[in-house]
Subunit: 206 residues, 2 copies
DNA sequence: AAAGTTCTTGAGCAACCATTCAAGTAAAGG
DNA sequence: CCTTTACTTGAATGGTTGCTCAAGAACTTT
């Protein structure tokens, strides 16, 4: 992962690193999230983290791109679970799927939420030209789909949704609806627009 | 529009421009479409158009950004009508809406189609920070919505879709589905994924 | 305390960025 | 043919990019 971990843990004989690399990734993630990969310069990362270029490149072999990859992984590990919330827990059912989408709408309605989703932004900015990064964002979409499908199966078992619903297909649609929601959300729409989109996607489940 | 038009038409006394500005916009559009605004340099535009920086800046007051704005407008005037096809014609009904989405899927399945939609790419890259550009992409979404709604009303009149369907709400959902489709399409998915998304969105219309 | 190792610092790298400008050039009017 | 006007050209602008490197500093081991 980080160059630092091996040297910090195994080799004790040297000057210890004066910053926490995982905190650097955290702050960098928020920078990339707000401005995108291309429009975030190494200088921006230096300002955001307080760590000089030399130390940054000493800790992250692969430079800016590697920091970005780490940022994507941190987003998956830290932010996505927050957003998914109860949907990622075993007992999740229809209510948890709906709650996830309601949360997305709430986020998009706040000014700071208009940054959208780092995974969606990255997919559009970089997926076509960087296959490693494309794999990460594809994994994110698969995760959303998997959780939605599991919850829909639970909902079907409980008789909460019509028997005609195909959980796998519906989960794929809901995932795509989420992607669309993040794009539409960028244009500063009214809340009713976003609610119309989600309501329509849930119409055949109620 | 272009600086050139006034000087070319009204003032005849000077050396005429040796290139066609609208062709410059066309080629620039394809460059921006493929690589995005930030990652397309003026140097790229010089190579793509064969027009030197001086002439470019002479013809387009506002530089790279203005060329991009013109490119967006050309995309709306040239590419979008191609994609919308019969959906934009008065008699359009359910079949034309469906044909539009089938066309999107076909596009996304070809390697060169993975560039996606310039409007979606631009929304994600720039809408949050450039309100003029956000207006253009918002207008694009409104156009999709308007056409879908009109076609759905026609379909309702003809009894092609269930009476319970709200054309306006369904059109909003379909527009968002299109946005989601372009994002998912960037990750090189199988055709069946995209078809599942579209089928699910049309399920309650059949 | 001295040696050894790694980190930090600040300057600085070449490459590229969007943009400008003076000089040269081509067409039309007189 | 000569002036006028606008366009083309090629070089060059200052600024920023991602990244590197030598020098100094801090910590552990001997």
């Amino acid at each position: 992962m980080f160059l630092s971990e091996r040297s910090c843990i195994l080799v004790g004989v040297s000057r210890p690193r004066q910053f926490d690399p995982s905190e650097v990734v955290d702050r960098s993630m928020r920078e990339f999230w707000a401005k995108g990969y291309r429009d975030t310069s190494v200088g921006d990362l230096v300002v955001a983290t307080g760590v000089r270029p030399g130390s940054l490149y000493g800790a992250f072999d692969g430079g800016k791109r590697q920091i970005f990859v780490e940022a994507l992984k941190l987003y998956s590990a830290l932010i996505v679970p927050q957003k998914l919330g109860a949907l990622e827990r075993p007992g999740a059912s229809l209510a948890e799927v709906r709650a996830y989408f309601d949360g997305l709408i709430s986020d998009l309605m706040s000014p700071e939420g208009r940054v959208g989703c780092l995974m969606v932004n990255t997919t559009v900015e970089l997926a076509a030209e960087d296959s490693e990064i494309a794999n990460l964002t594809r994994g994110h979409m698969a995760r959303l789909e998997r959780n939605a499908e599991r919850a829909l199966r639970t909902a079907a078992e409980r008789g909460e949704i019509p028997v005609g619903i195909d959980p796998a297909a519906k989960a794929t649609q809901l995932m795509a609806t989420g992607m669309g929601l993040m794009v539409v959300g960028k244009t500063n729409p009214g809340r009713e627009v976003l609610e119309t989109i989600v309501d329509a996607a849930f119409a055949d489940l109620g």
